[in-house]
């Protein structure tokens, strides 16, 4: 019965930050177990939309329903994992101390800190102080914290930024594996080649959704060879339409 409820349902969402509209009437749904990509240039509202999903953003209008409950409800706080674009881990603690703390807060199993450290490939750095990690390692530590407690929804803001292609490949394999186990993922990126790995894509620009489709549908509908071209096509189409 519950499985018919989409993992994420957003309707008429409007957010204003600093007097400027950042999200204008955004609506979409994501079924459970799917990988949803948020793609768009920097400043298009991806991060704000993700903040709405985890319930830390003040919203002007619209509804955000996550796993059947209003976003940010107390009941969701162990069921939703969030990793921010700017790593939010303690620079003066080791990787393991960070995971132990966030794990304790989430009442995750005691074995979880070691599991997530392995999953993001930081096993060799578990006792290293986070402040001394490289940028890519820091990003993975940040991602690891979101995996604690096996949340049903993962909201990941640019999780693969600054990673070499091999690591990116490994992380996407992990995301697909999580999705196969029933986890829903919302992943933002500004890299088009990552967009092709998602089940569904939201192409965003200036606080609006330009397209909501699978990568394949997008290239077919626009008659373009790749997603970059599809994105451009959609922007031109939007500019020409009277709206």
């Amino acid at each position: 019965m519950m499985s018919f409820v989409p993992a994420v349902a957003v309707a008429g969402l409007r957010v204003v930050r600093g007097g400027k509209p950042v999200l204008r009437d955004v609506s979409f749904e994501a079924p459970r177990g799917s990988v949803l990509g948020l793609i768009g240039p920097s400043g298009c509202g991806k991060t704000t939309l993700m903040r709405c999903l985890v319930g830390v953003q003040i919203v002007q209008a619209g509804t955000v329903t996550v796993l059947g409950e209003p976003a940010g409800s107390r009941g969701l706080r162990r069921r939703v994992g969030y990793s921010t674009q700017i790593p939010a881990v303690y620079a003066d603690l080791t990787v393991r101390e960070n995971m132990r703390y966030f794990g304790a807060v989430l009442r995750a199993p005691r074995t979880d800190p070691d599991r997530v450290i392995e999953e993001v490939g930081l096993g060799d750095h578990r006792d290293q102080v986070v402040g001394t990690l490289s940028g890519g390692q820091l990003n993975r530590a940040n991602l690891a914290a979101a995996l604690l407690g096996e949340p049903e929804l993962l909201v990941l803001d640019e999780p693969t930024v600054g990673l070499d292609p091999v690591l990116r490949e490994e992380l996407w394999a992990l995301f697909r594996e999580l999705s196969a186990r029933g986890t829903t993922l919302v992943v933002s990126s500004h890299v088009m080649d990552e967009a092709g790995r998602t089940d569904r894509l939201l192409l965003m620009r200036e606080g609006e959704i330009l397209a909501d489709a699978s990568p394949r549908e997008l290239t077919e509908r626009t008659g373009t060879a790749d997603l970059d071209a599809a994105f451009l096509h959609l922007i031109h189409e939007r500019a020409e339409s009277p709206a």
Binding site: R77, P87, D92, V105, L106, A145
Partner: protein
């Protein structure tokens, strides 16, 4: 509604803050070393035992207060600006878990801090104390917690660490001027006296004076202790009100 707490999360937060301090040897050294160094300086600047006996205990309450204010305001500001507070606000962590985590961690730390200064003061520096050591420790730790609670609250009004550090003179120095350390509060102009009456540090310093002069734990001292504790709880409650799960 969302400011419920859980003992397990509060304890985990306390452990985490203590672990952060454990990694930061320099901060730890400064926290414990600076008050001791200042007391030693003070003793030899005054050069007479009698004057040191009068001023020393007041400063013994003041140093932990000031240091905890700075450390707590910068520490929580780092959590606000570094995104870790936002991450915690998406987890079951209650606002009280967060604040009490800091209170317990810094409370423990101030116990060490006060303990070291006290041992040095009572032995090497020959501080003469009429009251009990236990009541002095109680008051000094309460003063430290008061400083911490005010620092947590003040950090809500700072956007940068530059601003947070400026709050120390802004919040603390007026209290130092009016707390009776420089001029007895009785001889102040009436309007200054009124202001002094509503500032928490006045009670902290008064309590320290009583501990140093009075052999028994008087009702006046108890009253001071209750006022300090009240201010601390009030500042923590205000601090909780400034923690927001949702921000613009």
């Amino acid at each position: 509604m969302s400011s419920v707490m859980s003992p397990a999360i509060t304890a985990a937060t306390t452990r985490r803050i203590l672990a952060q301090l454990r990694h930061d040897h320099r901060t730890l050294g400064l926290l414990v070393g600076v008050p001791s160094l200042l007391m030693i300086l003070l003793r030899y600047v005054f050069d007479t035992g009698a004057l040191f006996d009068r001023i020393g205990p007041m400063l013994l309450g003041l140093f932990p207060f000031v240091i905890m204010f700075v450390v707590a305001s910068v520490g929580t500001l780092r959590e606000r600006t570094g995104g870790t507070l936002e991450r915690l606000m998406t987890t079951p962590t209650g606002k009280l878990d967060f604040l009490l985590g800091y209170a317990f961690a810094f409370g423990l730390l101030s116990l060490v801090q006060v303990g070291v200064v006290l041992v040095i003061s009572l032995t090497w520096l020959g501080l003469d104390l009429a009251g009990s050591v236990a009541s002095l420790v109680l008051v000094a730790v309460l003063d430290a917690l008061l400083g911490m609670a005010l620092g947590l609250f003040a950090s809500a009004f700072a956007r940068t660490e530059f601003q947070a550090v400026q709050f120390m003179p802004a919040f603390v120095l007026p209290q130092v001027l009016l707390c009776g350390l420089l001029i007895p509060r009785d001889s102040m102009a009436p309007w200054l006296r009124v202001i002094s009456d509503v500032l928490p540090l006045s009670y902290a310093v008064d309590a320290m004076q009583r501990v140093s002069r009075e052999a028994s734990f008087s009702t006046s001292l108890l009253w001071d202790v209750l006022v300090i504790a009240g201010f601390t709880l009030g500042a923590l409650a205000l601090g909780a009100a400034t923690l927001r799960r949702r921000t613009g």
